[in-house]
Structures are given as structure tokens and as C-alpha cells.
Symmetry: C2
Subunit: 143 residues, 2 copies
DNA sequence: CTGATTGCAAACATTTTGCACTATG
DNA sequence: CATAGTGCAAAATGTTTGCAATCAG
């Protein structure tokens, strides 16, 4: 898979090793691109289903992937701290319903406009800008 | 203070009692409107300086104030989960620097535009919409 | 008075750390 | 081979809960 190869080269460039634990974590995240996964879900899967990956390694590597902007942390109202694959997606932007907790990726054009405006007004760098919107979705509008 | 009175009437309307613990918490939050305060800071202050307010009560009441949209939770890169007074401010919107962690309130006009666009495109309710932007501030732009 | 709220202490959950060992590059 | 990364177990931190006692309305 192409993306997988890209990720590998990012690691290489930083002198980071591709260990089984990391490989499994990255695979799991790629397999769940469309979902928002909690730390617990991750280390339970990698510890039980894949077997052998330790909690500490998960914590350490999640932190790493976050720093490399491969995943993004989101705070979902009903699920707490979660992670989401964002590497080489154009849109790192989510809107999250405060009631049902559903998180969806945003519309690309809209966010390009917002990015531009943010940069113009606040001098906020476009590079790696990410946005999170909390509100009420169509369904939950009436409390 | 007028705002204080407004808060009291919100509590009354919901059959919620104005206990010393709540009074102290609300006061502390009002005194720190411009800051982002962590749970630890809150219960250490209320437990030691104000004396007597218990950790549990802080947790329970922070949760309450969040539900009443009096405060908003923010996830600061270097400080973790924090809270910020937002009651009757027109702008519930922050941009947060991933490097230095500084969080600032956003520009009102910009966000009104964004709110409108979000509503038009995603059917996202304007009521209680809040936004968080993560990026790099002017100062930290060059990593 | 009555029920909402508190404090307390314990249970539970989450995250971090030090260290000896392993295995990637 | 050198050193980045791992597992493990324990410590540190953070959060929730049940319950008897209290006090706001």
C-alpha cells in the first residue's frame, strides 16, 4: 500500500525504527481510518487480538504519531479522548455533535476558506492547522 | 455583579441549589475569566485557599457548569484538559498554538461568518456552537 | 421538612516511569 | 554493535462511586 510506504519513509527520515509494535499500531490505525478510536480500544486490540503489544508502547507510540501529524487527537463528548488518522488527508477538520457525539469530517472548500481567513486575521499558520467544531447536528437540534 | 445574578437564576430555574461549594467554584471561574484552568488548579484552590471544597464536588460541579454552557472544556497541548468561562460571551472560539500552548479567543466577525457557513453547509446548529483551532501562532511558526 | 448536594474514603481508571532486555538498522 | 524501543511492574495521577450526614429552599 502506497500510504504505508510513505509512513515508513517518515519514520526512516527521523531515525525511528519500524518495530513490530509500531507496525501493528499503524496497521490498526489504517484499518480504522473512518473511526475514532480510544487508547483503550487500541491497546486492548493490540494486546489481545494481535497479542503482545504492551500498554506503555501504545501510549509512547500514539504520542509519537501525534507529533508526526499522522493522527489527530479529538475529544468526543461521550467517548472521551480519541484518535483519528489524518496523514495526507486534505481536511483535518471535524464537527462533533455535543449530544450524540457523532464526529464527521468537514467540507473541504469551506475549510479552505476558513484557513485563509484565519491566516489573514490571526497570522495562524496554514501548515498543519486543524479545526474542531462542537455543536448540534441536524438530528439532535431539538435537544 | 450582574453576570453573577444571571448565573444564579439559571441554577434556580433548574432546581439547582446555590451551595457554598458552587458559589466558590463560580466565583473562582469568574475571577479567572481570562485564564484556562485545570481541574487540579481548581480543586487545589478551592480545597486549600478557600478550604473545605472537596475534589468530588469540583468534578461534579464542573460537569454541571459544562452542561449549562457556562464553561467550556479545552484541550491544551501542554496543560491538558482545561476550562474556560464562556457564559454570555459572543465568541466561544479559541485558537490554540500546538507549540507554546497559548490559547486565545478568536475574532468575532470571522467566527460569525464561519458559523453561518457551517450552518448552511452542514446543518450545524448555531446555538451553542463552539470552535477550536489548533495550529501554530505567529511566534512559533518556524517550529 | 425533603430532596439535592456534600465530604469522605475507597474503588476504579488512566498515564508515566525506571530499568533490564531485545532487536532494528 | 550501538542505541532506539520494548515489556513489565510499580508508582503516580486522575476520576467515579456509594453512602451517611447536611443544609438550601
Amino acid at each position: 500500500m502506497k500510504k504505508h510506504r510513505d509512513l515508513v519513509s517518515i519514520l526512516k527520515a527521523k531515525n525511528l525504527r519500524l518495530t513490530p509494535a509500531r507496525r501493528a499500531l499503524i496497521q490498526y490505525i489504517l484499518d480504522n481510518k473512518s473511526k475514532h478510536i480510544s487508547l483503550k480500544e487500541i491497546y486492548e486490540f493490540l494486546g489481545i487480538k494481535v497479542e503482545g503489544v504492551n500498554r506503555s508502547s501504545v501510549y509512547r507510540n500514539i504520542e509519537l504519531l501525534k507529533k508526526l501529524d499522522i493522527i489527530q487527537e479529538l475529544n468526543l463528548p461521550n467517548k472521551g479522548k480519541c484518535f483519528q488518522y489524518v496523514f495526507d488527508k486534505d481536511v483535518h477538520h471535524f464537527y462533533i455533535c455535543k449530544t450524540c457525539g457523532k464526529a464527521s469530517r468537514g467540507n473541504k472548500e469551506l475549510f479552505e476558506k476558513i484557513e485563509k481567513a484565519l491566516k489573514d486575521i490571526h497570522g495562524f499558520s496554514k501548515a498543519n492547522l486543524s479545526m474542531v467544531f462542537y455543536g448540534f447536528c441536524e438530528k439532535c437540534k431539538g435537544h
